[in-house]
Amino acid sequence: MHDERRGGTRLLVVDDNKVNRLLLTRSLEQQGHAVATAENGRIALETLRRESFDLVLLDMEMPEMNGFQVLEQLKGDLQLRDVPVIVTSSLEGIDNVVRCIELGAEDYLPKPVNPVLLKARIGASLEKKRLRDQQKVLLRRFAAPEVAQDLQSSGFALGGKRVQASVMFSDIRGFTSLAESQPPEETIELLNTYYELMFDAISSHGGVVTLMMGDGLMSVFGAPVPLPDHGESAVRSAQEMVELVDLFNVERTAAGKPTIRIGIGIASGEMVAGYTGTNKRATYTCIGDTVNLAARLETHTKVAQRVILIDEATRSSLSERIAVEPLGPVPFKGKAAAVEVFAVDPARR
């Protein structure tokens, strides 16, 4: 059983009536909670936006802003909508109770509030909140923040939509032989540091990592959240990745370890982005010719002996500050016509 004392739970009591405020506060303090009070809905919202609370006990009949209005405001507020609310009121009529629940209240306790019932309901609400918080942490760890946000606001549904975006594939050159030449523990450590650096470079430019496979990463710029300059963002992110790997190599050389090299391919255009899989296991991904092309470009970095390769659509979206060298047309497997390929100067200016 979750002990609410341990985490130092903070509750907010909202009631315009002083006797009610005193009595509820007393009950809650006897149960080991820290309690703050607000005497109407407006003050309650101000307090909730300023300080953080684990649970709100809300009266309905109040001047200035009543409980229904508070519930409505909380429901529309991304930061506050997950704070559980227990309505404590002596409202007349079942309709009003139903309305509270429909507006998102977790529970309804009639006044005068029975302390034993109060304790049980608060315990249950806090436990539910703890589980929800845990879920959110997991979601954040296993999905990109943008995807987690997308899932929270629009819910989960298999299926995709057409978007204009840029896709980037990257991996470590000669990773297999490197992995074979050292103990697996060292490889895992190398991968973790490498991922940390690459994720930083990708997300700081608005990209989302959609796939990790061994030493390879697939990321998308422009979905699920549209990004107006997705081509340039992807290229700048690639430049930063190269720079970070160079710095990482300085450290590795100093430690007597072999350096690593990476290859990056970027393509831009229309693709289908969305959740694919089953209702039990799914992933956010992008599918289409553009995605295949980005993968082929990444593979081609070995042949071309360049670090970053991009397609024509990505090149035409770049500002002049990024130096690009045309490599001419390259015939790719699965492509009817040869594709114009460009190498990006890894150095940022």
């Binding site: 315009d16 006797v19 009950s27 007349e92």
Partner: protein
């Protein structure tokens, strides 16, 4: 037999759960807030402010129930539910009766809190 001014079972339970000292503080608060609620009722009736009238009646009902003042609670609940019209028709008699019952409750609570 008329209902007692204060239902002892309710009051004693309050004392048991919240503590005797705390109940003294709670009663003292109600003795300050109660007359203010009666004033609110009179003022909102005169101004025909239905919202304020309902809120004041609701508050008085809620606190009366807390202390076991069941008659006062029932009278306040009636006002909360029926609103301004019957009280206006009664030309102040309703609120006078309410004030009399409140006075009985206040006297009883003052005695009980030291018991």
């Amino acid at each position: 037999m008329p209902a007692p001014t204060i239902d002892r079972a309710t009051f004693d339970e309050l004392k048991d759960t919240a503590g005797a000292e705390f109940v003294v503080e709670l009663v003292d608060t109600f003795l300050v807030e109660g007359p203010a609620m009666l004033d609110d009722l009179r003022r909102s009736l005169a101004a025909q402010n239905a919202d304020q009238f309902r809120r004041a009646a609701h508050s008085l009902k809620s606190n009366s129930n807390t202390f076991g003042a069941l008659t006062l609670a029932a009278m306040a609940k009636e006002l909360e539910l029926t609103g301004l019209a019957p009280a206006l028709a009664a030309n102040g008699a309703t609120l006078d009766a309410l004030a009399q019952e409140y006075a009985r409750v206040a006297a009883a609570l003052t005695e009980l809190k030291h018991a």
